[in-house]
């Protein structure tokens, strides 16, 4: 049975593809008139943009279309006629409409007709097969596709089709079929400026005829945005000039600034704010989204920071924190002392070299003693410092978290020192061992050729080398144990700091405005389109409804992520293990100086 239909259809339809007519839903109830839009010959589709109502003067219509074509570079033309009639067919209107085909010549000529109050549509597309007006006409099959003009106008396709910039005419309409529809509607804003309620010479119906929504708050905000941006830009330029002044240049200070993550975060925020309040208009929709995302992210950050500040002030928590800080530092130091005492004994039943053990243990214990003295020296000032630092939370939650991370690194500075000592000692030992092992086997490292060569040593060289090798290898367990313990402690601290940085990164880079847009106005961010077949009667043309398929949330985050000073691990697990084994110092998180875009 389907085959029979196929054969019938092949006989009835002319050559070529089915003609697709994109019709806006707002014009479905408009009065009779002319159809105005763009014809895309490659996809055999006609995009109807508006309906011109009677009475009109053909010359004025042609003038308007020429104006629109010049302003928007879209080939707008009269595509056909639209007839919205009552139950009784109006003969005069029918003839009149057919006569219009001679006034505005267009191939193919569309004739859409709808009976008032019913859902049945009639479509006809006639094409002349010869150059003269008397040549026989053939009809094409028409498929009607309804689209919501306002939504298509406002939406943006992802990935954006690489459409050429505004060129003369539509010589290059080689974009994918549906991207061309979006592009046509988006570029024809000039056409939508006057509608049938205006007093102009030509009365049009399009999406504006349904009434434009606007919000007073949005309009007021737009007016106020100009002076506010100017003020903020001046303030920010002052701040950045102050931070770049010479007081902060000399070496110790600049080194400290580069190591503190708070300064990094503040600089990042300053850059972002400068971008947002800059006087340049956004170049494209991507830039606009980035500005909006940055603004919303900064505002949320400040709101969270103020919330944190009010919570801290409520029950006098600052005093509690300051009181708790010194005992915690003392406790940490005490635990470290216990650990060292344990290492100096027989840790886990292992037998250590007593002399080296005592030396290393005493050295580290003295360090801890120094550290505790410094902490006790600082304890009267801690509350004031904490209070002032807490004030900076009003600059944002991310700043508060960065300060927390810096406080952690300052409080665990002794662990960092111990790790460095242990690692250097271990590294030295490993290098010594490998070089002496080569000597043991009669080989040598050739620095010039960067390879291992054989070498003949003297007897006394061999003797001393073997002795040193033996000493080093017997001292290896002790050093290795100290190195292991302090590396684990250091990794623990680094993990905690890494989590804090991860949270800061998340707040920095989440595109909240885009997510909110996807939630509230899903048609603005389109991944594509979807079609729904409307009620179909045999013998009538096929009617489809084209809706916008919104972008999934994961794609939104991926496309509109803000750049941030990323804290991704810069080593793979393999190279990390290798570095740990050879005692090289590790900085598992990316150095704070490198920015990542």
């Amino acid at each position: 049975m389907p085959r029979l239909l196929q054969l019938l259809w092949a006989q009835l339809s002319g050559p070529g593809m089915v003609l697709k007519a994109f019709f806006p839903t707002c014009c479905a109830s408009a009065d009779s008139g002319l159809l105005v839009g763009r014809w895309v010959p490659e996809q055999s589709s006609a995009v109807v943009l508006a309906v011109v109502h009677f009475p009109f003067i053909p010359v004025q219509v042609k003038e308007l279309l020429a104006q629109v074509q010049q302003a928007s570079q879209v080939g707008v033309a009269v595509l056909g006629t639209w007839c919205h009639r009552r139950q009784e067919p109006e003969e005069s209107l029918g003839h009149f409409l057919e006569g219009l085909g001679t006034l505005f010549s267009h191939e193919p000529w569309l004739q859409l007709c709808r009976e008032r109050g019913s859902k049945s549509w009639n479509c006809k597309a006639t094409r002349r097969q010869g150059p003269t007006p008397l040549a026989p006409a053939c009809e094409d099959q028409v498929m009607l596709i309804f689209y919501d003009q306002r939504k298509v106008l406002l939406s943006r396709l992802h990935p954006p089709a690489a459409l050429p910039e505004r060129q003369a005419g539509d010589a290059t309409a080689s974009a994918g079929g549906l991207a061309a529809v979006f592009d046509t509607v988006a570029r024809s804003e000039v056409l939508f400026q006057s509608d049938r309620f205006d007093e102009g010479p030509v009365r049009l119906t399009h999406w504006q005829s349904e009434g434009v929504e606007a919000s007073i708050l949005v309009e007021l905000a737009k007016r106020a945005a100009g002076p506010v941006c100017l003020l903020l830009a001046c303030l920010l330029s002052l701040v950045s000039a102050a931070s770049a002044c010479r007081v902060f240049r000399p070496w110790p200070l600049s080194f400290i600034w580069s190591k503190l993550s708070t300064c990094e975060q503040l600089r990042h925020r300053l850059d972002q704010l400068t971008l947002v309040v800059s006087a340049h208009r956004a170049e494209g929709p991507a830039q606009l989204m980035r500005k909006a995302n940055t603004l919303v992210s900064v505002l949320l950050d400040m709101a969270l920071g103020l919330l944190l500040l009010s919570w801290l002030h409520r029950k006098d928590r600052f005093a509690h924190l300051a009181e708790a800080l010194v005992p915690v530092a003392d406790r940490v130091a005490e635990e470290l002392q216990h650990l060292l005492q344990w290492l100096m004994g027989a840790p886990a039943g292992l037998k250590m070299n007593r002399a080296l053990d005592q030396v290393l243990g005493r050295f580290f214990l003295y360090h801890i003693h120094l550290w505790i003295s410094y902490i006790h020296l600082m304890s009267p000032f801690i509350e004031h410092i904490l209070w002032h630092l807490g004030l900076s939370a009003c600059l944002g939650l991310t700043v508060a978290l960065s300060i927390l991370s810096d406080i952690i690194s300052l409080l665990t500075f002794h662990i960092y020192c111990f790790y460095v000592y242990g690692a250097r000692l271990y590294c030295l030992k490993i290098h010594g061992l490998s070089s002496l092992w080569r000597l043991f086997r009669g080989k040598k490292w050739n620095v010039l050729r960067q390879r291992v060569d054989s070498c003949s040593y003297d007897l006394d060289q061999l003797f001393i080398g073997t002795l040193l090798f033996t000493i080093l290898i017997f001292l290896l367990p002790t050093t290795a144990l100290y190195y292991l313990v302090f590396t684990l402690l250091r990794l623990l601290v680094v993990t905690v700091q890494g989590l804090v940085h991860l949270l800061v990164d998340l707040i920095n880079s989440l595109p909240l405005y885009s997510l909110g847009l996807r939630l509230c106005r899903p048609y603005r961010l389109a991944a594509g389109v979807k079609f729904r077949v409307l009620e179909h009667e045999a013998g009538r043309p096929l009617r489809l409804l084209m809706q916008i398929n919104p972008l999934p949330f994961s794609h939104v985050v991926r496309t509109y992520r803000l750049p941030s000073c990323g804290c991704h691990p810069k080593h793979s697990w393999g190279s990390l293990c290798r570095k740990l084994f050879f005692g090289e110092l590790i900085y598992p998180w990316r150095q704070r100086g490198d920015k990542q875009d």
């Binding site: 196929q6 596709i145 994918g176 079929g177 979807k530 045999a538 013998g539």
Partner: protein, 198 residues
């Protein structure tokens, strides 16, 4: 079946097939016009037996934990988890029916409807479609057939950039796939003839 006359609704028919595991599938075909075709494949519903089994297991485990810990929070947590799990399963995992809509000279659209009513749609424009084929694949210990769409490579004229499988959750057997394949090929053949003619 008589052809569509004036005023009659579009042709529809429904047949039942089975999927690769033996479950019953219903293929509902709608013939809107010679250039527009829709296939709707309904998957077997969620069975009461498996639902009861999972719920009982979770609650028995929770009760076991409760006798060990004497904390009644475990029981309420178990109820919560069961409810959330069921909602999540219905909304994100269980597919009710899958639809394939082919419109000549426009494109191919695939829709998956979940048990909670959520729908996820993908539309591929006809300009990107190279062909629709039935392919074989090794799935666990079986060799199965699946229908897929081949997409054109923009760079290489005879290359394939992507293979998009259809009816991934329903997984019908070869007889069902052949039905769908034949109808798709008829429409694609007309599309190719139209695109090559001047």
């Amino acid at each position: 079946m008589a052809g569509p006359g004036a005023g009659e609704p579009a042709m529809e028919d429904e047949r039942s097939f089975s999927d690769i595991c033996g479950g019953r599938l219903a293929l509902h075909r709608r013939y809107y016009s010679p250039s527009c075709l829709e296939f709707c494949l309904s998957c077997p519903r969620i069975s009461l037996r498996s639902l009861t089994a999972v719920t009982c297991t979770v609650w028995l485990a929770a009760y076991g934990l409760f006798t060990l810990c004497e904390n009644s929070m475990i029981l309420s947590a178990a109820i919560f988890i069961t409810l959330l799990g069921l909602l999540g399963y219905l909304h994100f995992v269980k597919i009710d029916h899958e639809t394939l809509l082919i419109i000549d000279s426009l494109g191919i659209q695939m829709t998956s409807s979940y048990a909670s009513g959520k729908e996820s749609t993908t539309f591929i424009e006809m300009g990107k479609v190279k062909d629709v084929i039935i392919n074989e694949a090794i799935y666990m210990q079986k060799v199965i057939y699946y229908l897929c769409i081949l997409l054109k490579d923009p760079v290489e004229p005879h290359g394939i950039s992507q293979v998009v499988p259809i009816f991934q959750s329903a997984k019908p057997r070869l007889d069902c796939l052949i039905e769908v394949y034949r109808s798709c090929q008829e429409i694609l053949a007309h599309q190719k003839a139209a695109s090559t003619s001047p």
